[in-house]
């Protein structure tokens, strides 16, 4: 059986984008970039290092939300390789 998702463009593109997010995330959250934001000042009442880390974190989550759409499409074809693959109607967003 030919490759079901890897040859499909959305899956591969999602993978490449995820890779990009991963690399950007590592670059931003690790030294030396993170050290740039190690300043003793406050923005909106929050210390800059704390604000920086949580903002990057939030941005990473947003990025993941954006690429999870095509990913889900590509996975719809690839799942059910052996399980009781009744498709779930939709993904309910969480309350909080």
């Amino acid at each position: 059986m030919p490759d079901q998702d890897m040859t499909q463009t959305p899956g591969r593109r999602a993978r490449d984008r995820a890779m990009a997010i991963l690399l950007v995330g590592i670059a931003l959250l690790m030294p030396p970039v993170a050290q740039v934001f190690l300043v003793d000042d406050h923005i909106l009442g929050l210390p800059i290092p704390v604000l920086y880390i949580f903002v990057v974190w939030g941005a990473l989550i947003l990025g993941a939300v954006m690429i999870s759409g095509p990913l889900k499409e590509s996975e719809a074809g690839g799942s059910g390789a052996g399980g009781n693959g009744t498709p779930d109607p939709q993904n309910r967003p969480t309350g909080d």
């Binding site: 704390v50 990473l60 889900k72 390789a81 399980g83 993904n91 309910r92």
Partner: protein, 886 residues
Amino acid sequence: MLSVNLLLGVCLGYVILLFAVAFFVDRRSERRPAGWLHSPVVYTLSISVYCTSWTFYGAVGSAARNGLEFVTIYLGPTLVFVGWWWLLRKLVRIGRAHRVTSIADLISSRYGKSSSLAVLITLIAVIAVTPYIALQLQSVTRSYQVIAGDADAMTTAFWVAAGMALFTILFGTRNLDANERHHGVVAAIALEAIVKLLALIAVGVFVTYGIADGVADVFENVHPDTIRGTTDIFGPRWITLTFLSATAIICLPRQFQVTVVENVEERHLATASWLFPLYLFGMTIFIMPIALVGLQVMPTDANPDLFVLSIPLAHERHELALFAFLGGFSSATSMVIVAAIAVSTMVSNHIVMPMALRLLHGTHAVIGDVRNLLLISRRISIGIILCLGFLYFHASGGSDALAAIGLIAFVGVAQFLPSLLGGIFWRGATCTGALSGLVVGFALWAYTLFLPSFGGDVVFSTATLTQGPWGISLLRPQALLGLAGADPLVHAVIWSVGANALTFLIVSCLTQATNLERFQAAMFVNVFRASGGAPSTIATGSHDTEDLFILAQRILGSEPARKLFDELAEEQGTTGLPLASDAVFARLERELAGSIGAASAHAMVTRIAGRETVGMTDLIDIADETQQLIETSRQLSDKSAELEQTAQQLREVNERLRTLDAQKDEFLSQISHELRTPMTAIQSFSETLITTDDIAPNERERFVSIIHSESRRLTRLLDELLDISRLESGTMELQLAKIEPQAAIRQALDAMSTMPQVAGVDVRIDGPSDDVFVRANGDRIHQVLLNILSNAVKYNDSDTPEIAISTRRHGRHVVIDVRDNGGGVSRDEAAVIFEKFSRGSKSERGAGAGLGLPISRTIMRAMDGDLTVEFDPDGSSCFRLKLLAA
């Protein structure tokens, strides 16, 4: 103060609720194996078992002590889920295709279903997880003590452990699901995940807005060092902790259980890729405020690890404290339950089952009631693991040393990472490599981190820790080979994970994989290409499907086994039992693997099949072999090109040989012809002389002179032949001397003066003064000149014959051109006159054997010179002798 009775009552109620949920879901999924319970949200919530009481209570403590550092524990998993979900997806796909039951099962299955690897991983998991479980018991006990006052820690911990064991046994081993999934447990875990998140947020909101006056107020007078912690915050420890937590989310047995084994649908990962990081974000957002406010409002001796609980209590918010207690209780119980299920599966599949198999080895086909044995062994394993956790807690006396155990466990399970990643991305990884890497990594982990963590004089003496064993400072556990100055955790990670990965790589490169390993490697690495492909097949031997059926019944239960075999028979188009084919074996092995692990399933089925090896014909199907075939065919085509080239060379050599052979034949026939002519003359004249008596004396004299001249000719011919053969074979060494060419020419002309034709020839000699010399053999150059000059005279048909001899220096050579006005040789003739026995158009029969010019050229070449025919632009030609100048 909260009353203990109320606390116990609420706890009991909560546990009953969890039981009810688990029971309800299990029932429901038996009847209808789908629905909202199989939603990606439930899946994601179950992954949040990552957040244990270490997060719920410990993160605040960590934030109070080390500032922002606690975030790393959640950044690692975030990075994995947002950016590396395709690794998880690959694990999930492999898990489904091979009915993987645990991380030990996956790794051992990848490396040729190696049972020793499975046992090793199981042992590491037990050793790493036991203290972690103890930590959960401690946190529940402590939080209980905070509310209930001085309850006995050990008694509380014991009852907590016992309760958890009961819950786990009830819902974790109710049946042997083919896919090792526990829907009821997952649902209960998901409920607990919501409770702990809401509890932490509730406390956070209360602290931030109830005690402090909003976020800005919380951070207003905070000293920067409180945020930075004591060390350089974004330093090596930051990187190491992020790496460790990223590793843990992949390698922790309980995470593997919920992420891979309990995964119902692959696409749920797509939701989890952002929802799980969001959950972690929610869990951590209020950690910093709680810690900072706690440091401000709580007495200095208050334990920051319990701020989540003690702050509401101190502010008389009992209902919030109770909720927080339930949150902590949820985090602890969910971790313990899932970890116990995951590890007990490993223990029973990889340690108890193989031992049982070995004990029952003698009884062919009758393997005992494996199904019951499995359930019992799994229950006992759960009991043992919780017992170990309790004993560890007991031994450590509930000390603060436990707080660091979370990270120590992370480093322990990080040892799985090289083998795991290598196994699913690198086909060259071998079982020996994985085993060696794990042993080295585990040993270094124990030596540099785990054993020293007990503190001085427990395992290592204080002296050993500070000065190294036997005073050898290079072996100091926390400064191995002099690597001092690093944080002990960073030090341990660099040593253990680094050495593990290197050993794994090097040993894998040096060792050979077995057929089964290579097969599994191809199946795992290319799982997306070989989707749903058959796992390893077993060559059919002499066996009976009945044995297989009995085996399936024992492990899967009668009804599922009956269903499976009916299905198999239907696929084959037969009724009753299916025929024992490779497909049947493979399918059965896969089904059994879901219950007892790949290694045990493989061992059982192969025992019935009677053969362990994978047939080569099966291997050809897989990509690995295809690649080898491509390689082989490339080599073959290279070889065939090489052969073609050799054949071409052979053809050329053959052609030359043929030509040479023809030349030799021609040469021989010419020689015999040349020899025959004088011989015939000699023979006939001598016969006449013998047979005829009355011959006139003058006639007799004439005959004798003919015989004489012919025999001289014969001798000359033979001399020439001998000459040429010696010259050509190189056996004749020519002694070279410094010779004046003009003198040699004059000498040759003098020698020719007796020839009748020479009389009327006008000879002109041009050339430089006498100071030109050549390196040549005097006799031989004379011979050559004589030959060339006599030819010039003999074949000159001009009325006024002229010969011009010019000598000049040309670079390193001296060139002698001999030119006559007799028409010279044509270009066609020039091509052949140096061949033996060829004669120019002007020579008549009997004038010579045609060896003069070939001999001359051979002589010239033997003297490092040459003899050629040169043509002027006007068509006239000359013989050119070339010699090295002396």
